[in-house]
Structure formats: C-alpha cells, structure tokens
Symmetry: C2
Subunit: 189 residues, 2 copies
DNA sequence: GTCTATATGTGGATAGAC
DNA sequence: GTCTATCCACATATAGAC
C-alpha cells in the first residue's frame, strides 16, 4: 500500500537522521534499511531533501507531543517542568531535532530548517509560560526572568546530550539535569 | 617548509571540521581550501582520519588554553566561572569540540574520540573545583553539588549553541548563559 | 616533498521496462 | 508502484614520475 511504504520511508529516514545526520545519510542507506527499492523511493519522494523534510517534520511533531504530555501532567507548574526535564531519554542518542542544528546542509535549506526552528521556539515558549506560572504560584524566586530561565533549561537538555556523548555515559545527562533542577530550587529535597 | 605545510593542513582541517563535521569534510575540500596538493597531503598525513586526529587534538588544546585563561582571571571563584561563561564566543558557529560529539564516525574511532572525551572531562573537573572554591568562599549556596552544577554549566554552554543555531540568533546563546548565571546567583545584580 | 594519473566505491538521481 | 539499467560527480585513496 502506498501509505505504508511512504510511512516506512519516513520512519527509516527519521532513524538515520537521528543516528548519522543529514550529511551522513544517503538515499541508498535509506533503501537498504527500509527494504524499499530505488524506484519506489523516488516514486514517493522527490529525493533526499524531500524525504528528509517529511522526516524532520515528523520528528519535530513527536518532540512537541512528548513535551506536551509532560507539561500536562498533574501537579504544580514547577513540578511539571521538572517532570519534563527528568523524563526518560535516550541520552547517548541525543535529540533527534537538536542534532540537526549541527548539520550545515539542513540549516542552509529553509524547508529543512523551519521545522527545527519552530520546534525550539515552541518548546522555549511553553517552558517560559510554565515558569511564569511557577513564579506566580510562589514556587520560583521572583527575580528570575522566565524567558531566560526557559532558554537555559532547553540548553541544559541539549547540552546534556553533548556531555553524555562526550563522556560515553548516559549518567552525565542525568547529572546535568539534576544540577539544573537544584539551581532552580526544584531538586530532590 | 614541512612544518608550515603540516600546520596549514591541520588548521584548515580544524576549520572544516568545525563548519561541516567529520562526515561532511572530504580530503579534496581540505586540499582546495588549504591550497595544498593531493600528493603533498598524503605525504604528510596517512589520510583523512590521521589528519582529523591532529586537528581534533589541536582544537581540544585550544579549548583548554582559552578556558584556562578565563579561569586564571582575577576575582573570586564564582566571578571567574561567570567570566568563562560570558566570554565572547561565536555562538552561531558552535563549539569546535562539542560539535564532534554528534559525529558517529568520530565517536566510533577511539583515536578521534579520546581528545574530545578528555577535553570535556578536564573542563568539567576544573569547573567543579572552582565551584567548590566558590562555595567555600560563601559565594554559592552550600546545598549545591559542585560536580552536578559544573556538568549543568558545561551543558548550558553546549546547549546554548544549539538553541542559538536553532533560532538563527546569537542572542539566544547569551540568554541561556544569563539565565544560568541568574540561577547560580551570579547574575547582573 | 609535490605533481599527475589512475582506481574503486558511493552519492544522488533519471529513464524506461514491467 | 516497483524494478533494473545507466549516468556523472565526488570520496578516498595508491602509484610512480619529477
């Protein structure tokens, strides 16, 4: 069926983009891993960039959906932020969206870049709102700027992947997160 | 002269690894940008991986030297940490060492990976020491774990590059850093 | 030390048969 | 819709002349 083949191609491309980035992912590799043939792939998609666009949009949508699930959990605003930060993550694999940020060919193509930019803007905006709410609830020091704090937290998550990969240890991701939560005043105590 | 050609090749490779990563950098591109010929390049280095190893070691050494300069500035320990975080950086270009962390072929090769791993371990260790000192100086809340805080700060720097690139705005890097410094209690006030 | 020639595989895609 | 054939450029070297 058409839809299944397309879906399989997109899913496979998501995986490869996550593992190897855009520059490191070839059409041939997508075909090998998905089991879809050359002709079939080019029938459904215009080429590597077209398929990557679909895959990036899917990864960005998943990022939002997963974050939304954490943000909608019960509890105070600060607890929900902490829950999002502590959510299980494949620390050594990194962020499927944030990773693309390092890919010059992705950043150079507006169609590939847009979903990445939007996902981060959305995420930072949501966190900003939750932190403002936490401040109003008295759970956060009033002197903190919600937008700057939110940007710092998004950076801790993205940088947490970097330090974890550099050390070859998923625990370093958790250490970065707990360090940030302690600074926020939302630590274990 | 031999040394100059080798140095030029290493320097050029540093630039290309920074801009395009290991996967995205070809021997031919190094030759084009450096002006060094094919035969000359393969005379001085065993190949792409060998040249990359030299370049990565140089970038890692530069990272240490620049950090050391900031850490050795006058002032209290927390001020020196803040000075390091606020140091001028090419936010949209990212970190020449942290970037390699996303490159599967670098992480898979122990010779390429080692300098990256060591640079991050060294940096985190130095920051841990400075934060412990800051705590002893009474400049930092005693409840904070220096190692976790240091890991979080390294992550903010690395993630700051990600959010800046995602937004296409160098200011987002500064926002992440200031957000973190405010959490540390080392903000503008 | 540096140059040019050559070699083999892959990247990324088009063409046309089935 | 999918397959195979074909294409040209580039990636990553090696060989041997100068």
């Amino acid at each position: 069926m058409t839809a299944d083949t397309q879906d399989l191609l997109i899913e496979t491309t998501c995986e490869l983009l996550w593992e190897r980035g855009y520059v490191g992912t070839s059409p041939k590799a997508i075909q090998r891993r998905s089991g879809v043939g050359q002709g079939s792939m080019y029938h459904h998609f215009g080429g590597k960039a077209d398929l990557a666009r679909a895959a990036i949009e899917r990864s960005a949508a998943q990022l939002r959906a997963r974050a939304d699930a954490a943000f909608g959990a019960p509890g105070g605003a600060l607890e929900r932020v902490a829950g999002y930060l502590r959510r299980e993550r494949d620390a050594l694999k990194g962020c499927p969206v944030g990773r693309l940020t390092q890919d010059p060919d992705v950043m150079a193509d507006p169609l590939l870049r847009a979903p990445v930019e939007e996902a981060f803007a959305w995420l930072t905006g949501r966190l900003t709102g939750l932190l403002a709410q936490a401040r109003d609830e008295g759970a956060l020091r009033p002197g903190l700027d919600p937008a700057a704090t939110a940007t710092a937290l998004v950076a801790v998550v993205q940088g947490g992947y970097v330090v974890a990969r550099a050390a070859g240890s998923a625990e370093d991701y958790g250490r970065a997160i707990e360090g940030a939560l302690a600074l926020l005043g939302a630590g274990t105590d």
